[in-house]
Amino acid sequence: MKRDYTGIVKSLGAVFLGLLAGAILMIAIGANPLKGYFYLFQGGLKSIERIGNVFAIATTLILTGLSVAFAFRTGLFNIGAAGQMLIGGLCATVIGLSVELPRLVLLPVMFLAALIGGAVWGVIPGFLKARFNVHEVVATIMMNWIAYWVVYYTIRNYFTAGLETESASMPAAGQLRVSWLSQLLSGSYLNLGIVISILCVIVIKFILDRTTLGYELKAVGFNRHAAKYAGIKVNRSIILSMMIAGGLAGLAGLTYYTGYSVNIQIGILPSQGFDGIAVALLGATSPWGVFFSATFFGILHAGKGFMNANTSIPPQISDSIIAIIIYFTATSLFIEKLYKKLRGRRADRKQIKAGGDE
């Protein structure tokens, strides 16, 4: 049996075109693209510490990417990962800053708080969609802004320390950072969040592939009418799917605000929430695909500073490459067509050869 590699080819094609466009940009500003990419990737991968940082950045992206991908498999477009992530982070921060518990108890409680907070933020648009047919894109965008202001007021009024624009720092007991890991990776930011995100990849893959729940959710995503015909409760599936997607984004907030950083900034919708869309698309909405595409974005993010320091290329080029890749994955239809066309050509060539033999 032949496997269908279109998904992988599409993703690699988008990456390739993105890098190509980045090279053109570098040439345009008079820099040497080979050198640029050399430093970009070296910046991401040259030491244990830097590799650790790649995964520290990827941790959050994996979770927001999973969130978007999971909803997508049920046919839903979750634009609300940013808001869900904020609320998840807020819930964890509030608990971490206000209760004193031994670390072994505190971290699981914060984990649950983030999970539930995100899930609630996801379930509301899910409910609106199921009950009143409010489009989830509209509802999740609104929820993003509600989250933005909820965090703004809560943090600002109750949880600031020195600065007005961010919460007080998380005490060590409430941080996902652990010293043995930092030491092992010579001081990288990598923290327990990576364990959470990899576990989530495994759990989500299991749910999608092996459980009746996953079967139902995918059925709804593929064909709502047939799902209804089969007796699957479509509305319940929509609500559940958004709830799980929200929970994943909530955990992204946990890893970001209590692991990657140790406080929560106000007045910002985290860009990771939106990057999650790109990660999910580039990962062809499969859990391990999300893992790899998040890692790739992690490399670009981690390496751009190093590239800037060693060449005349500004770090914005790296952001442009990411943007272009997003663009190409979003228009991945184009790449699919190209791939099919090339394959068709090959078939034609084969056929001409075969014809010549006769």
């Binding site: 049996m1 459980t211 009746t212 593929f222 047939a226 089969a230 409760k233 056929q351």
Partner: protein
């Protein structure tokens, strides 16, 4: 130059299936060539190659004697080849004109008025009777098909491919389509027609190329070949056109519908005080012209549509407030009318589709975890029991199956549920005569084993062949309930379908 299109020694392989094996088909200028073949024989694949949707592995195509390469539908259009797909490719919310000029050469906005005029002229020339300003979703399926035809004519197609155009039409619309095809030929076009209806081939085609399992069996002159001969060529064995069925005494009532009132999508009454009983060991046929409440009746029974008032009982249990699943569990199996929209999840493989209504049961899952081995084993059994042909067996996605095999898969799944009531809606639509014979046999088998079968079909022949009793429906009302025996008259039923009650006939 005699042939306008020649497809020579075409080969096309899909993973696990040789869909076209050295196929040669030649279309003469100004003729209607029928393509006949079992489900999955490779007809659609062949035409998709001609229309540039698939690439052939080997072979060549000649148009008016010249070798051509067709890489995509645009190439096909430029060569004057047009295709009406079985599933229309229209934008529901656009007007006829917009749909026709979309994607065609020329500027969308500027040419709209001129386009409208050209469309009107074409419509008159070919007797299509289309209003260019109508919105697609407001017009009937038959009209939508004509829009597809117009789309081809607008692009100056000389060769028109019809893939099972009549499967979705009412008998009246079929009649009109035949007339349109004749007009097309008179105006110098050439047509390739795929159909499973031998009657239609006899009526309209000049020659018929028969394909079996990807190979051409032969091309015959339609005038001098009987339907029976064509059927035998196609299947490779004798086909019986009559259904054998023993008399059988019906048992207890399984399904009882009482004073049912249901609204249709436009919120007007679709069923009016409709009552009907279906008993063990009988096939109850529902005869009627399309759109007279049959769809709503089935949807109301299966839980896909809300009941306004009235009762629905299965084995004496009132179920009209049950969920879809509750009703399935109470004993309803349902072969739906639209197999791709309702009956299957096209992106799921066969194994997954076979457990669509039972995945949450043992042995297919336990504590919410799917048991793949049990699912696969079940699928293998159904594939062999119901002769479902698929390239990759259990792992074939439903969308890779030909229409007939999709239908067999649904039939197998629903029969395997082993429920007291089996509802079959248009169970043989789009199927070849061999598959029809097979499905009819299995339905009668169900009746003989004591199941109640509710058969809804637009084909009066099918209803008369299979049913023990016939319920005639018109405008949502039960016109009459007739025992299907030797002194029943097809014309009477036709009149009743038009709403004329028995007492009112003379």
């Amino acid at each position: 130059m005699e042939y306008i299109v020649e497809m020579l020694n075409i080969r096309k392989e899909f993973p696990g299936v040789l869909a076209n094996d050295n196929v040669t088909v030649q279309l003469k200028q100004g003729e209607i060539l029928a393509l006949l073949g079992e489900n999955g024989a490779g007809k659609s694949t062949l035409m998709s190659i001609l229309f540039g949707l698939y690439h052939m592995d080997r072979g060549s195509i000649r148009i008016r004697g010249e070798n051509v390469t067709i890489n995509n539908p645009n190439d096909a259009n430029n060569l004057g080849i047009g295709m009406v797909h079985q599933h229309f490719q229209l934008v529901e919310t656009f007007t006829v004109t917009e749909n026709i000029i979309m994607g065609a050469e020329g500027r969308f906005l500027l040419d709209r008025k001129k386009a409208g005029e050209k469309i009107k002229a074409l419509s008159v020339q070919y007797g299509l009777n289309i209003d260019p300003d109508e919105i697609i979703e407001d017009i009937s399926v038959g009209m939508q098909q004509r829009v597809e035809i117009l789309k081809m004519l607008y692009r100056n197609a000389e060769v028109l491919i019809f893939d099972e155009p009549t499967a979705v039409l009412t008998p009246q619309e079929v009649h009109e389509l035949m007339q349109i095809m004749r007009n097309l030929i008179t105006e110098g076009k050439s047509i390739i027609l795929i159909t499973h209806k031998l009657k239609e081939i006899k009526e309209i085609a000049d020659r018929c190329t028969v394909i079996r399992r990807g190979r051409v069996i032969g091309t015959v002159d339609v005038k001098t070949t009987s339907q029976q001969q064509m059927a035998t060529m196609m299947v490779g064995r004798e086909i019986s056109f009559t259904v054998d069925k023993e008399d059988r005494k019906a048992g207890d009532v399984v399904l009882s519908v009482q004073n049912l009132n249901v609204l249709n999508n436009r919120k007007t009454p679709a069923l009016k005080d409709f009552s009907l009983d279906v008993r063990r060991g009988e096939i109850m046929g529902v005869a009627g012209v399309e759109g007279n409440g049959q769809t709503e009746l089935v949807e109301a029974i299966t839980g896909l549509r809300k009941v306004d008032s009235g009762r629905i009982e299965i084995n004496g249990r009132e179920i009209s407030r049950y969920s879809v699943r509750g009703r399935n569990e109470a004993g309803i199996a349902h072969i739906p009318q639209d197999r791709q929209r309702l009956g299957l999840i096209m992106d799921y493989n066969l194994g997954e589709n076979f457990v669509l209504k039972s995945y949450y049961h043992k042995p297919y899952s336990k504590y919410g975890i799917l048991k793949k081995e049990a699912i696969d084993k079940h699928a293998e059994k159904l594939i062999s029991d119901f002769d479902v042909r698929a390239g990759n067996g259990v792992k074939s996605p439903a969308k890779a199956l030909s229409g007939g095999n999709q239908q067999k898969a649904i039939l197998g799944r629903e029969i395997d549920l082993d429920t007291d009531l089996l509802i079959a809606v248009q169970p043989t639509r789009g199927l070849d005569v061999g598959a029809i014979e097979y499905i009819h046999k299995r339905l009668i088998e169900q009746r003989d084993s004591g199941k109640a079968v509710l058969l809804v079909s637009l084909e009066l022949d099918e209803i008369m062949d299979l049913s023990d009793r016939i319920a005639v429906i018109n405008s949502g009302e039960l016109i009459d309930l007739i025992t299907n025996d030797s002194n029943i008259d097809e014309n009477d039923i036709g009149l009743m379908m038009a709403g004329v009650k028995r007492g009112e006939q003379q």
